[in-house]
Amino acid sequence: MTVDVLAPVQERQAGSAHTDRGGADTFPKLLLEHARVRPQRPANREKDYGIWQSWNWAEVAAEVEALACGLAAGGFRRGDKLAIIGDNRPRLYWAIAAAQALGGVPVPIYQDAIADEMAFVLDHAEVRFAVAEDQEQVDKLTEIRGRCPLLERVIFSDPRGMRHYDQPWLEDYAKAQERGRAFARTEPGFFGREIAKGRGGDTAIILYTSGTTGQPKGVVLSFDNIIGCATNAIAFEGLTDREEVLAYLPMAWIGEHIFSYAQAYCAGFCASCPESQATVMLDLRELGPTYFFAPPRIFESILTQVMIRMEDAGWVKRRLFRFFLDVARRIGPRLLARERVAVADRLLYRLGDLLVYGPLKNTLGFSRIRVAYTAGEAIGPDLFTFYRSLGINLKQLYGMTESSVFLCIQKHGAVKPDTVGAPIEGVEIRITEDGEVLFKSPGAFQCYYKNPEATAAAKRRDGWVHTGDSGFFDADGQLKILDRARDVGRLQGGAVFAPKFIENKLKFFPWIKEAVVFGDGRPFVAAFINIDLEAVGDWAERRNIAYASYQELAAEGAVYDLVQDCVERVNRGLAVEPTLAPSQIRRFLILHKELDADDGELTRTRKVRRRIIADRYEPLVAALYSGNATGRITTEITFEDGRKGQMRAELAIRDMDTGLPPAEPVPLRRAG
């Protein structure tokens, strides 16, 4: 038997992709399988006291067994929920496995949730046991304990500051494990028997989605859901047990659960936890992950840091950096897509790799990346191209908690900045008449916990799950997500109008800070533009354009030309897609004042409040649709000190030629 097992293992360790799980249909079974097949391979790491401490699969299995038995000794029964609250720590990941081993259900909670939100989840999920990271989380639980009568026992991982806590319902993690080991001695084989009772159809986890409206909903996912989806994606990308991932996003988020737990358990690779939230970037550099996920804002902040530091570098380095970055932009994406590239260009790129890209990637911790994903929101094409041009295989994917993440992933050689790829194996996607994205997938969730109405609304009887996202397939069969379906409207001609999609495209230009487009129920699309004072101001200074205020700069003809160029490029991009071609911006104006949260025009998180803006600037909207060359407006503004004043302005309106040929809007599109 050993021979049978070992042969494929060596094959795997040589680096081949594998999806063979030895028949294990739950994570605890996978854990035992790894502990048997690759006991010495690292399963978890955590940077602590300045050193990467590591646990191999055999050790993790022992840790999980001790905790599971400790929980069982404390009265944890099959079907019980275990809340898990804290930063990414191996001990908390083990708690997930421990709960699952006992036939219980882990319920991770966002560590920065305020006490009220936590109380809602604990109460709704009928949680009896919780594992908390540290004093901070224990304090929150103490505060809400009165409101969660079911909560019986809290196990804390970090004893720091807990010396004076003598509540009987609190227990040290190490003590719970000690108790578990004693329990295991009296009941040998208990752990294995409990695991053997688990079935793939059982509930693996309940993840609460942070609903923007109303109370959070608990998404119930089975082992079959998660393992099915995770293995499909592993096969798609050819991941092996040699991957390295950094587990740094919130544990209560489905993406983190899939990348750092589910896929690690399915493929047998190692998930490493950073020392603290503040050291993530340093730890990333030390670890050098091969498989990496980050939302666009993280990629953006990394790029900003690089650019700022380059500004401080010496003249030679700066020139070198600029030159080779241009080379990379031109050649990198094509190399990554394995296209034909001239020998001279290849050599130039190789030189750039030696002098710039290699050292840069090394500094960022991106040297070993084989697959990197970004998702969650639109990513700017420049940003996306930057990473790809360095040779980092950054791709986009589409998914959500309800689908156990993976629905679409971009294929090698078919990567574009504004699509999310094609459906992966096992996933079916359909677009409704209204443009809403529906899916069928092995990862489709079971239900919303104790919320049959919401379940029925999202998951229909015919098996299709409604995402609430609006999108369409482009000519290459890749899915494009436009917006949340409820924000999408129609032009008078009946064409789909997705305001956020167009606004994002405008905002990707450095000159444009905010954009508001109109079009729902109107004959064509028109836009308000807010320029970025810093970027455009700098641009104007270099051209000796004098201005005294935002208002003056915004009214400048040359600035209008600059913005017109941006709008034109967006239009050309839209013209490529028949669905979006009618949404080209016909007229625009540059607002005389910056949209401001103090005036109620933006939310505090800087999202435009479309309706309020449309009301307040009604004369300007009317002017855009009237054919006049200018629009007049009087606005009330709030000064910093709270006084109010009036601002009068007459704004120029530019007409756009929307009959331009649908040329390539961004160079990267060629990569597809």
Partner: protein, 259 residues
């Protein structure tokens, strides 16, 4: 729970004068084991002078200091350090060009046994020793939650963090008595709260005796077990925070006398 014990250090009628100015005038008090003692008083009251006398910077003209039952006469700061008294300074006194880690490592110097030659060779026992010290330092870095700045030169850090590093270096000495000179000066509210927590945790986890000078009355009243009030070189009050707060003499010193 920590148990406040017998005096670990006793100052007996300490008098210190610079030329004609009497900075300290026959001041007597004790610092008890495991307590947090705050010294307060208006500017120029002699608080920092008192700390300097305790750790041997200044030598009083009259009076004695008894440290763990041993009365000492003239003493240098490094004697105090060797005997287990560590301090931080009103103005941060770190090596600006060195990293946080290296700065805290310097706090371990007194505990290093190998001589200069061994250290230079850096092999065998010297290496083992350095590893052990590094492990200690890492505990302190973890304790003070400054992992993210481990390798950052101290000069580049904001003031609040520099103060924390300085506390780290003092802790690295594993002192029995920790003297903190205005540990929260120039900090914002959040930094102050952090620092308070660290001071309480140091007292709690390590049982270190702490004497501190502080101007923020809220902080003093919150964290100290006992308060001593100095005014123009005289001690005008000595007792638990509540008692001191209501003492008429203290009120007069701070708010001026009613006329």
């Amino acid at each position: 729970m920590k148990q406040i014990g017998e005096p670990i250090l006793t100052a007996d009628r300490i008098t210190l004068a610079f030329g004609g100015v009497t900075a300290l005038n026959a001041i007597s008090f004790g610092i008890r084991r495991h307590e947090i003692l705050a010294m307060i008083g208006p500017n120029g009251a002699g608080k920092t002078s008192m700390l300097n006398v305790i750790n041997g910077f200044y030598h009083p003209q009259a009076g004695t200091i008894t440290w763990k039952g041993e009365t000492r006469r003239r003493m240098r700061p490094y004697h105090a350090a060797a005997q287990g008294i560590a301090r931080t300074f009103q103005n941060v006194a770190l090596f600006k060009g060195m990293t946080t880690l290296d700065n805290i490592m310097t706090g371990r110097l007194l505990h290093m046994r190998r001589n200069f030659l061994w250290q230079a060779i850096h092999f065998g026992p010297a290496e083992q020793e350095e590893l052990a010290h590094r492990a200690r330092v890492e505990r302190i870095i973890d304790f003070l939650e400054i992992q993210a700045i481990r390798k950052t030169p101290v000069g580049r850090l904001p003031y609040g963090l520099q103060k924390r590093v300085e506390l780290g270096r003092a802790l690295a000495m594993e002192p029995e008595l920790l003297l903190l000179d205005e540990p929260m000066a120039g900090m914002n509210v959040e930094e102050k709260e952090d620092m308070c927590r660290f001071i309480l945790d140091v007292s709690d986890e390590f049982g270190t005796t702490i004497a501190l000078i502080e101007h923020d009355m809220g902080v003093v009243m919150d964290i100290s077990d006992r308060v001593i009030v100095l005014d123009y070189g005289r001690k005008i009050a000595d007792g638990p925070p509540d008692e001191v707060r209501s003492s008429p003499e203290v009120i007069a010193a701070y708010l001026g006398e009613e006329r």
